[in-house]
């Protein structure tokens, strides 16, 4: 607990650095592109369009009662946040090698800054998401006010995984390759493109429920698509997965961070 307080305190002191790092990433990302920030909005829309075309026309996927495009986009926006942020976290320590080797910087700043940077992007992708919700006639409800809770849990979960990957990638470069495969597999194991209800076997459905990424996605869908208040179980699942990932990831990171310089 005292460790957590100290962490928060040093985070408060490094907020200028954090702000600068996030701003840097943002500026660099769109530096030489004509459309700039518009890509943040267009990209998820275009991928959704492609996936919707393939899955609803070719594979004849459907989600009874709700628009398939809205279903797809809600899952995709969350999953993309996770995959992009965790990928950037993974290389964040190695990418800032020249800094870490010369100046004392609290190293956990780098994964945090990546999660925040992609987080800002994520908030931007909510704009096309809400547009789709309106266009498809899905509509809004008061429960949308609960969504920041799910987003926060997704953020913490991603940060935890990011800490783990960042530390692991310093010692074993194999992690880059392995994680690429893991992410692809994870995308298909997470009900992003399909409704788990279409899977007949209850065993498989239970396995899917264990997927930590599915908790926030399910929460978001319960609110956005079905206009319901998520049950206490859903609240708990989001928090437990987030806290667990963060605990494991940050502990590993903390225990290995002094050795980073020697391995980079």
């Amino acid at each position: 607990m005292s460790y957590l307080l100290r962490l928060l305190d040093s985070l408060r002191r490094s907020r200028f650095l954090l702000k600068q790092l996030v701003a840097r990433d943002f500026k660099v990302k769109y530096k030489r592109s004509v459309l700039g920030v518009a890509w943040s909005l267009l990209y998820p829309l275009l991928t959704t369009a492609v996936l919707a075309l393939v899955f609803s026309n070719v594979f004849r996927f459907s989600t009874p009662g709700v628009s398939y495009v809205a279903y797809l986009l809600t899952g995709l926006v969350c999953f993309n946040y996770f995959s992009e942020a965790s990928n950037l976290c993974m290389s964040s320590i190695a990418a800032n090698y020249s800094l870490i080797g010369k100046v004392y910087v609290p190293k956990y700043i780098f994964p945090i800054s990546k999660c925040l940077f992609v987080g800002v992007n994520f908030l931007l992708t909510l704009i096309p998401l809400y547009l789709v919700l309106l266009i498809t006639g899905t509509g809004l409800c008061w429960q949308h006010l609960l969504l920041p809770y799910a987003f926060a849990c997704l953020f913490l979960f991603t940060l935890g995984v990011g800490f783990f990957l960042a530390a692991a990638a310093v010692f074993f470069r194999d992690v880059y390759y392995i994680y690429g495969i893991v992410l692809t597999l994870w995308l298909y194991l997470t009900p992003v493109m399909y409704d788990p209800a279409v899977i007949g076997q209850p065993l498989l459905q239970n396995l899917i429920a264990l997927n930590p990424l599915y908790a926030p996605i399910r929460f978001v869908r319960t609110v956005m698509l079905y206009h319901e208040t998520p049950g206490i179980g859903q609240f708990a699942a989001c928090a437990v997965h987030g806290a667990l990932a963060l605990a494991v990831g940050s502990l590993l990171f903390k225990r290995t961070q002094d050795k980073f310089v020697c391995y980079l």
Partner: protein, 258 residues
């Protein structure tokens, strides 16, 4: 008696060198089960960069570090900067350390000079209002007003170094680490930076100075530390240490050619 800014006691730093070669997940996994092998690998591959240094540096002292390549100078600087943790022994720092990052290692080439000043200041742990106050001074000292909104990737190495030097010194750090940086930039800037260094030294900044230029060490430093193979060979007045070091370096060369 001046107060102590840096104190090292029995400072050791070991690097694992062998692990670099083909250390992968597989090897790590195998090693988990074979403790004996792991211990053997570890001892075989250790490199002792520093072997029990003890010294202290007082406020306002300008300490030059001399020694051949691989003597442990840069390792020592990294320990002072807090980048490395010592393998054994202790190092205590009393004050804010400002490492002058050579050639702007903390710069992002895609960002403009203006953006990089803020980024670099943030990296060095300064607050936003502080750097906003000092911004004009930094720009004026670097003499890069005309290029403020150009990306640093288009800068020459001399210009980059000027920017780095300006950020590092304008903020008047308590402990300044200088690793072979004064030789960059053009003649006019070299003179300017030399003057700046002298005024910092006069103002009580403690400086750790690494250079292969014996003349620079002589002219700046009051005291010098001669490192060799991770040990202190000599610690004393800059002039006499430099004399001895130069003599040994020249003799060493003679022996080789003979």
């Amino acid at each position: 008696m001046n107060d102590v800014m840096i104190r090292a006691e029995g400072l050791c730093m070991n690097y694992k060198t062998g692990v670099e070669k083909g250390y992968s997940l597989k090897q790590g996994f195998v090693d988990c089960f074979d403790r004996k092998k792991r211990a053997a690998r570890r001892s075989r591959s250790e490199f002792h960069a520093l072997r029990g240094l003890s010294f202290s540096v007082a406020r306002g002292e300008v300490l030059g570090l001399v020694g051949p390549n691989g003597a442990g100078k840069s390792t020592l600087l990294k320990l002072v900067a807090g980048v490395l943790k010592p393998s054994a022994g202790r190092i205590e720092i009393f004050g804010r350390v400002c490492p002058m990052i050579e050639l702007g290692a903390g710069f992002d080439p895609e960002l403009t000079a203006r953006e990089n000043i803020f980024l670099n200041a943030a990296v060095m742990g300064y607050s936003e209002p502080f750097i906003s106050r000092k911004f004009d001074e930094i720009v004026a000292f670097s003499g890069l007003e005309a290029f403020l909104d150009a990306p640093v990737r288009n800068f020459s190495s001399g210009m980059t170094a000027r920017l780095a030097f300006s950020i590092a010194t304008v903020v008047e750090p308590e402990i300044l680490i200088v690793d072979e940086i004064l030789s960059v930039g053009d003649l006019a800037f070299q003179e300017k930076s030399e003057r700046k260094m002298r005024s910092l030294i006069g103002g009580g900044t403690t400086v750790l100075f690494v250079s292969h230029s014996i003349d620079a060490i002589r002219s700046f430093c009051s005291r010098a530390l001669w490192l060799e193979r991770g040990e202190i060979r000599e610690d004393g007045e800059a002039d006499s240490v430099c004399d001895h070091y130069r003599r040994s370096a020249v003799c060493g060369k003679d022996d080789e050619s003979a």
